[in-house]
Subunit: 369 residues, 2 copies
């Protein structure tokens, strides 16, 4: 019998289980494909035709390593955001950037604050670097800005995470509220403002961009409205010196070249983005209507999904979820207390929403059993 090499104490303490279950895994378990893929907040409308064409054209170039500086994509984003390129860092999705930020700012035992039931991948990173997560409950299905700020100050947090618009609830705060929150956070605490759903929300929910607060890092992605979740490309922007700190630890050749090509092409096709955003807004109405037709209460949403209050407890909503999954409709649900009374349905093409409409009453009937 051979020994195994010892993990670091930090790594030894982490679970080896896969924390995230993808729809493909569920399809393998059930032995057939889902009829509707409405659970991962992807954009079922797909990337722009111009972006698909750019990818096809670039396929033969994939023998080349990516440009580790991400120069062209950063330049395109700088033009798009009207900020200098030095204020931008590209990452392997917001997921990758969140991991780097936690690694840079929160060591073992340091406190990190988030909302109870917010993005689980962020929590995975916090645990992975040995920091201590402090959670603040949602209030009226929104992230509790005052509660988060209080927790930051009480605990001396090194990092605080906030998503606006919010996942998994779809709710949002207006820019003035976000600005007041930022002002309330000590300058020594890094604020990670996740704006993955920024494009589908009201413009009034986005603070204007300035770098007066060096501790504010805002994160956006090509995974949602731009329809490129599979390519893993996000970006962060903020104070130039804070942004430069990511150079210390990022995988310099980590952004795949196809993502560089596709993201740049996607930025160039704002007409398509506007078309998608309009479809998302219409899809939210459609989902909300289906919910109301079934006696449920859809939450107002600024994202590409609608969270629906099933009107009872978490156990009931879980039965609804399971009923939908068993009928081939991939959706998800929040898991934290109170939020867990809801299911979460991503906007998708009408064919898939029609399947959702057809199956929801049956799942509800079974759940009421």
């Amino acid at each position: 019998m051979h020994q195994r090499p010892p993990l670091t104490p930090l790594a030894e303490a982490l679970p080896s289980t896969v924390p995230f279950v993808g729809p493909e895994n569920q399809e393998r378990q059930r032995g057939s494909a889902f009829r509707a893929r409405l659970g991962a907040n992807e954009s079922g409308f797909g990337p722009a035709p111009s972006v698909i064409e750019a990818m096809a054209q670039a396929a033969g170039d994939m023998w080349k390593y990516c440009d580790p500086d991400n120069f062209d994509l950063k330049a395109a984003l700088a033009r798009h955001l009207a900020i200098p390129a030095r204020n931008i860092v590209i990452g392997e999705g917001i997921d990758g950037l969140l991991g780097l930020a936690v690694r840079l700012y929160a060591g073992p035992g340091d406190v990190v604050v988030t909302s109870l039931g917010a993005y689980p991948t962020f929590n995975f990173h916090v645990a992975g670097f040995g920091a201590r997560l402090v959670t603040v409950p949602y209030r009226n299905d929104r992230e509790d800005l005052d509660g988060l700020a209080d927790a930051v100050k009480r605990e001396g947090a090194r990092v605080v995470y906030l998503s606006n618009p919010d996942n998994p609830m779809g709710t949002w705060w207006e820019a003035a509220d976000i600005e007041a929150f930022v002002a309330a956070i000590p300058e020594t605490t890094l604020i990670l403002l996740d704006e993955a759903y920024g494009e589908t929300g009201p413009v009034s929910a986005q603070p204007s961009i300035d770098f007066s607060r060096p501790n504010l890092v805002r994160l956006r992605t090509f995974s949602k409205a731009y329809g490129l979740a599979g390519l893993r490309c996000g970006y962060a922007f903020g104070d130039a010196e804070v942004i430069r700190g990511f150079e210390k630890v990022r995988n310099h050749y980590g952004i795949n070249k196809m993502a560089q090509v596709a993201a740049e092409a996607a930025l160039a096709d704002q007409d398509y983005l506007r078309w998608v955003v309009a479809r998302v807004a219409a899809g939210r109405e459609r989902i909300a209507g289906i919910a109301r037709d079934n006696g449920l209460a859809p939450l107002a949403s600024a994202t590409n999904f609608v969270t629906i209050d099933c009107g009872s407890d978490g156990a009931f909503a879980l039965r609804v979820l399971q009923g939908m999954l068993s009928r081939g409709v991939f959706i998800r649900k929040p898991i934290a207390p109170v939020l867990d009374r809801c299911i979460r349905v991503s906007v998708g093409p009408e064919e898939e929403l029609a399947i959702f409409e057809e199956e929801l009453p049956k799942a509800l009937e079974d759940a009421r059993g």
Copy 2:
């Protein structure tokens, strides 16, 4: 004046400079594209036509997140390697997997052993997690197996890195030597055996695959012979429990879907791989011949590049390198003492090697100046 949030002490101590300079950066500096791209050990022969077609077909699907289990690709690799899927982990290139391995096994102050002048990205990860790097000089342009094993034992190293075939020298050890090395390393030390160039080397340089030594993790990639460097996809295989440990810290949605599709298609087209490998072997002969025609000494190579002894010191080889770069020929050179007397030239298509052949005498003449 606002404060900045403090980095962790470990992050604070790391440099913020970009450690890796890509050819695109050099092209921007010089104001024109390179005429020949022979410096990054990419495969200028490109991906297989079947793989390019698979990428083009998959472009429209990029709105979906990847399967976080990498199920299909792992299954394909399991068939290819004739091992169970549970012994395999997929990563964002070997680069990404090396970072995860260091993170799992080497904490602040722990010793990690590598060769002086070996893969710099590995060293970047070691520094990034605060471990202490101990280097062993090459011996006769090969990694010094006895020296590495001695250093591991003397220093109580937690991790040792070895590439076979070697980058940047192109040299290699036979399987029996590697096996003896593995047997000489304590079971409590993780061995990272980087086989990025495995496909282009002699089969006799690859130990047969068994998992009798849980501390041996072997790493391979789709970046080299398979011609997919831009997609960032590598894999590691070894003891199932050691492999499962990567689940603790990997970015579960980190492998882009295009890489999953392309890598699976590439594995399915072994005819193309054989064609590339034959081209690489012929290209090595071609580069070696050019070197000899110019009075230089090419090293025997098992990789997709040839390292050429310029017959003098590091300063001379640097002048040769600079002369080639200024003539539009992108090549690189080793930087560690003794090795630095060489330049390193990747195999590429004949058009590019012809440019190399044309420019080398001029660069040599200038360097001798």
